[in-house]
Amino acid sequence: MRITYPHMGNLYIVVRALFTNLGLDLVLPPPTSRRTVELGVRYAPEFACFPLKLNLGNFLEAWELGADTILMAGGVGPCRFGYYAQVQKEILDELGKSMEMVVLEPPDVSWREVRDKIRCLVGDISWWRIFKAIRFAWYKARAVDTVEERVLFLRPRTYEPHRLEEYRRQALRRIDEASDKREMDEILRDFNNQCRALPLRSGPFLRVGFVGEIFTVLEPFANYDMERRLGLLGVEVTRSIYLSAWINEHLFGGLLRVKGMEHVDKLAAPYLNSFVGGHGQETVGSTVEFGKQGYDGVVHVAPFTCMPEIVAHSILPAVSKDYGIPTLTFYLDEQSGEAGIQTRLEAFVDLMAARREKRRKENL
C-alpha cells in the first residue's frame, strides 16, 4: 500500500515523520506547482473551492508516482471540506485512477479510531509505537512553527532577505530529516544562531495580522506567497493560526488538547454570534484581537466562493470601524493575478503607513 496525502504548506514534514514512524509507505506528492493547479482545475468542478482543486492536483501527481491510497482529513459540515473526499473519489474513479481513500473524520475521532485506521493501513501495531510516532510528529510541527514565526519577525528587519530565506529552507529541510527530538533542538539552536548573526534594521515596523481560511493562510502557493510579499514591503506579519493548531483540530480532533480558538470565538461574538463553518468566526475574532493589540492592519485571505469567509468579510467593516483597523480581503483561485495582488498590497501598506504617521503627528 502506497499512501499519499494532500499538501498544505509545511504539513508534509509532519506527515512524513508520522508515516515513517508508523512504518507506512509514503508517496509524497511533488510540491504544489503550476502543473498541480492545471491538473486540479481541469478535472475539479468549476466552482469548487481552490483547496479542493489543489488537493486533486496533488492526488493526480501522486498517482503518477505510484500512490494507491489517500489519507486525508474529513469533516461533518457545515462547510464543503467534509465532502471533498467523496467528490474527489468520484472524479478519480472516472479518470480510471481509482485510489483507496482513508478519511479521518472529526469530531468523532478518538484514540481508538486513530488506531483502527492506522491498523487497517499497517497491520497490528502497539499503542506505544503509535503514541511515540504522533508525539514525534507533533514536535516537528512545533519546530516548524517556531521557525516560521521567527521568519515572520525577521523579514521586515533583515537587510538580507535572501539569506534569511536560505536559513529558513535549510532549517525546514533539516527538521524534515531529523530523526529524534535532540536533533531538532539542535537545528533550532543553529537556526537561531544564524538569525542572530543577521544585521537588522531598527523599527518601528508596520504590524499586520494575517487571517482567513486556514488552507489559504498556511499554503504559500494558494496565497501567492503573501507573507513574504508583506515582509519584503517592511511589514511584520502575525499569523492567526499555525500548523500545529490545525493538526490538532483536524487530525486529532482535540486529542492533544492544545489551546483552541475559543477565546477568539468569544471576541467575535458581538459581531458574529454563531460558528459558520471553516474559520469564519475565527477570522472575525482574530481581527478583533489584532485591533485590540493596536495592529496597523489585517490582511484576510479566502478561496473564491468560500462561504464562511464571505460571511466574515461581510462583517469585517464593523470590526474595522470599531477598532480603527483597516482590513484588506483577497479572494484567491487559479485566476488571481500576481501583479494585481502586489499592487493592492503595496497600496495597503502605504495606507497603513500614512495612518501611522497621522497618528504620530496627532500625538505630538
Binding site: 461533518v76 465532502y83 468520484e90
Partner: protein, 341 residues
C-alpha cells in the same frame, strides 16, 4: 397591533405557513415583503457583499423593503433543521451580516434553530423563545405553536399532492384553486426541476422558468413533492452521509427523478458561486452522465444572467426532448443517449 416582517426570500418558501400561523395566533400582524422586483434586487446588490451569492443579496433587498414598515424583522438563525445537518454557512451568519451592513433596521428576531447542537434547540424551544419576546402567557405560546404545526402539516400535504410551494400557500388560503388545477392538467412533457427553493419559486430570479416550461408544454415536478422517506432512502446510497439539508433534498430528488421513467428530462437550476451546489451539482451531473437517461441540463444564474440566453437554452433542451420522444416511437429505446450541459 405589533407588526413582524418576514422577507420573501431564502427559506420563506419552506416555512412561511409555519411561521405565519404562529405569529397570527399571538395576535401579531405578519408583513411579507412583495414579490421580488427590480427595486428589491437593486437594493440587495447595493448593500450586500459583492462576493455573496445572489440569494443572499436578494435577502438584503427584501429586508430593506420591510425596514421602516415593521416593528420587528424575523430572520431566524437556521443553523440546523434536521439532525446532524446544516443548511449553509451563510444562513448561520445572516442576521449578523444584516446588522453590520444595513443601518436603522428594526430589532431583528434571530433566535437560533439548531436541532444538532449540543443544546438541541428544536422548533418547540425555538417558538418558546420567540413567543416570550411578545407574551408571558406560556399557554398562548403553546397554542400558537400547535396551530403553527397544524398549518405546516397542511402545507406539506398540499406540496406532496404536487402543488408548488407558492401554489400550496395560496391553496391553503383558499385563494386560487386555478393554480392547483393548472399543475394537474397533464402537459405534453414532464420535466423534473431541481434547485434550491428560493431559486425555483422566486419567479423574478428564475426568470419565470417554471412558467416558461409550462408554456412550452411541460409539466414540472420539483423536489417539494418528493417525500422525505424517499429522499432518505435514496441518499442512503451515498458513500458518506450528506450534511446539507438542501443538498440531500437535491440528491435524493435527482436520484428519484432519474429512476422515474415518466420523466422526459431533468433541469438543475443553481446559483453562481453557491458553495454546497458546487459539489452537490457536480455529483448529480456526473450520475446523470453515467446513466445517460433522462436528458439533463444545468442552468446557473446570477444577477448578470440574461433572459434571452436562458430562453434559448431552455428551448433547445425542450426541442431536443421532443425530438427524442418522437424518435422513440420509431426506434428502439436503446438509441443514443442525448446530453446537454
Amino acid at each position: 397591533m405589533i407588526k413582524v416582517g418576514i422577507p420573501r426570500a431564502l427559506l420563506f418558501y419552506f416555512y412561511y405557513p409555519l411561521w405565519r400561523a404562529f405569529f397570527t395566533e399571538l395576535d401579531i400582524q405578519v408583513v411579507v415583503s412583495p414579490e421580488t422586483n427590480k427595486r428589491i434586487l437593486d437594493a440587495g446588490l447595493r448593500t450586500a457583499l459583492g462576493e455573496a451569492c445572489l440569494p443572499v443579496k436578494l435577502f438584503f433587498g427584501h429586508v430593506l423593503e420591510l425596514s421602516g414598515k415593521v416593528d420587528y424583522l424575523f430572520v431566524p438563525r437556521l443553523i440546523s433543521v434536521e439532525h446532524k445537518e446544516y443548511i449553509c454557512p451563510k444562513f448561520m451568519g445572516l442576521s449578523d451580516m444584516l446588522r453590520v451592513r444595513l443601518a436603522n433596521l428594526p430589532p431583528i428576531i434571530d433566535t437560533a434553530l439548531d436541532v444538532s447542537g449540543r443544546r438541541g434547540l428544536d422548533w418547540s424551544h425555538f417558538f418558546e423563545k420567540v413567543g416570550s419576546i411578545f407574551t408571558r402567557d406560556r399557554h398562548l405560546i403553546k397554542r400558537a405553536y400547535c396551530s403553527a404545526l397544524e398549518a405546516d402539516k397542511n402545507f406539506r400535504r398540499l406540496l406532496k399532492s404536487g402543488l408548488l410551494p407558492p401554489e400550496a400557500m395560496d391553496a391553503a388560503d383558499g385563494i386560487s384553486e386555478a393554480a392547483a388545477t393548472s399543475v394537474a392538467s397533464p402537459g405534453f412533457l414532464k420535466i423534473g426541476l431541481l434547485g434550491h427553493p428560493y431559486n425555483l419559486y422566486d419567479s423574478y430570479i428564475s426568470m419565470n422558468l417554471i412558467g416558461k416550461m409550462r408554456q412550452m408544454g411541460a409539466s414540472v415536478v420539483t423536489p417539494a413533492s418528493v417525500s422525505d422517506d424517499l429522499i432518505d432512502n435514496q441518499t442512503k446510497r451515498l458513500p458518506k452521509r450528506l450534511f446539507w439539508t438542501l443538498g440531500k433534498q437535491m440528491i435524493g430528488s435527482a436520484l428519484t427523478f432519474f429512476e422515474n421513467e415518466k420523466l422526459d428530462g431533468v433541469i438543475y437550476l443553481t446559483s453562481f458561486g453557491c458553495g454546497p451546489e458546487s459539489l452537490v451539482g457536480e455529483l448529480v451531473k456526473r450520475w446523470a452522465k453515467h446513466r445517460g437517461n433522462p436528458p439533463f441540463m444545468m442552468l446557473t444564474i446570477d444577477e448578470h444572467t440574461g433572459e434571452a440566453g436562458l430562453v434559448t437554452r431552455l428551448e433547445a433542451f425542450i426541442e431536443m426532448i421532443k425530438r427524442r420522444k418522437k424518435n422513440e416511437d420509431h426506434v428502439p429505446s436503446y438509441g443514443q443517449p442525448v446530453h446537454c450541459c
